[in-house]
């Protein structure tokens, strides 16, 4: 299965995302922001970083990139798309997910191993989790405060579109402790924390078992491979 990983100018975590795809058993395919086609990939990851220097607003210029035109079209047809951190911001700026992301309420960059609760497992990116499962993956952002108007929030909660919620500690002032969302169809998922940094023992978050042994992020990538095989 071919999983595309988009690189915009200023993207940082594209190699990590490619590595996560490989460790999960998939074939990572590098996509460039100026690509006008998706090279027959079966799913797409928009990785973290500071695309276009966060100019104008985080993700705003990337949302206008040629590759996004193809991704928006393919997402409407059901292509699985995962946006991580800056990738989540790109999804929001592309209107593939509702709401917005603003500067952390603490006004500083936050970097920590973050506990999350999986709130929705009916997506190609979360089907290997169990509903309500607690996972820990790294979070690192300056503008991760999720906001939406009251009506949108009510719809997100009412329709079960919250995919992940911060557990025990809200690091950035996100409304309703929202860490990640899915779209109505479920194929588009975005979140601020970084699953691709928790995919290999020795390099992940600390767990009660051993230092840096956390691999909770790997399930995002094995989930999508499983859903593609079953499709």
């Amino acid at each position: 299965m071919r999983i595309g990983v988009v690189t915009f100018p200023g993207t940082l975590d594209d190699r990590d995302a490619q590595r996560a795809v490989r460790l999960a058993g998939g074939e990572p395919v590098a996509l460039w922001h100026a690509d006008t086609n998706l090279h027959t990939v079966d799913a797409v990851v928009l990785p973290g970083g500071f695309s276009f220097g966060d100019y104008l607003r985080c993700g705003a210029i990337a949302a206008q990139a040629p590759v996004m035109e193809s991704i928006i079209k393919a997402a409407a047809g059901g292509l699985p798309v995962l946006g991580i951190c800056n990738g989540f911001q790109v999804l929001v700026e592309s209107h593939l997910l509702p709401g917005g992301l603003i500067r952390n309420d603490v006004q500083t960059f936050v970097c920590r191993d973050q506990k999350l609760v999986v709130e929705n497992v009916d997506t190609p990116w979360t089907n290997e989790f169990t509903l309500g499962q607690e996972i820990t993956i790294p979070l690192k952002n300056g503008e991760g405060g999720y906001i939406a108007d009251a009506e949108t929030l009510k719809r997100l909660e009412g329709e079960g579109l919250v995919a992940f919620r911060y557990k025990d500690f809200n690091p950035n002032g996100s409304m309703n402790d929202i860490a990640g969302l899915r779209n109505e169809r479920g194929n588009v998922v975005g979140l601020m924390p970084h699953p691709e940094h928790a995919v290999e023992a020795g390099f992940g978050p600390d767990t009660s078992v051993a230092m840096r042994s956390g691999v909770d992020g790997l399930k995002f990538f094995t989930s999508v491979l499983k859903s593609l095989v079953e499709a």
Partner: protein, 82 residues
């Protein structure tokens, strides 16, 4: 050079961390008469010809759809400057 000026401000009820930091610095410098500071963006669109009404309408649309994000910001003005 003819220009259209688009001004964008963070929504009034949202925290503006940059404005807050500047306000704090001003208060440290004794400017306690200033109650609050908010920081927005001024974006200049330059033209090599005279600006038309259609350009202003286009700038309004660009302002609302790209230069600002309606979830967090408002376009507060679109004006011609010759």
């Amino acid at each position: 050079m003819p220009k259209i000026i688009v001004e964008v401000m963070p929504k009034a009820d949202l925290l503006d961390p940059a404005g807050k930091a500047v306000n704090n610095a001003l208060h440290r410098n004794g400017h306690n008469e200033i109650a609050n500071v908010r920081i927005g963006k001024r974006i200049e669109l330059h033209f090599d010809r005279a600006v038309t009404e259609a350009d202003v309408a286009a700038a309004q649309k660009i302002g609302e759809e790209f230069l600002s994000n309606a979830v967090i910001e408002d376009v507060v003005s679109v004006t011609i400057e010759n």
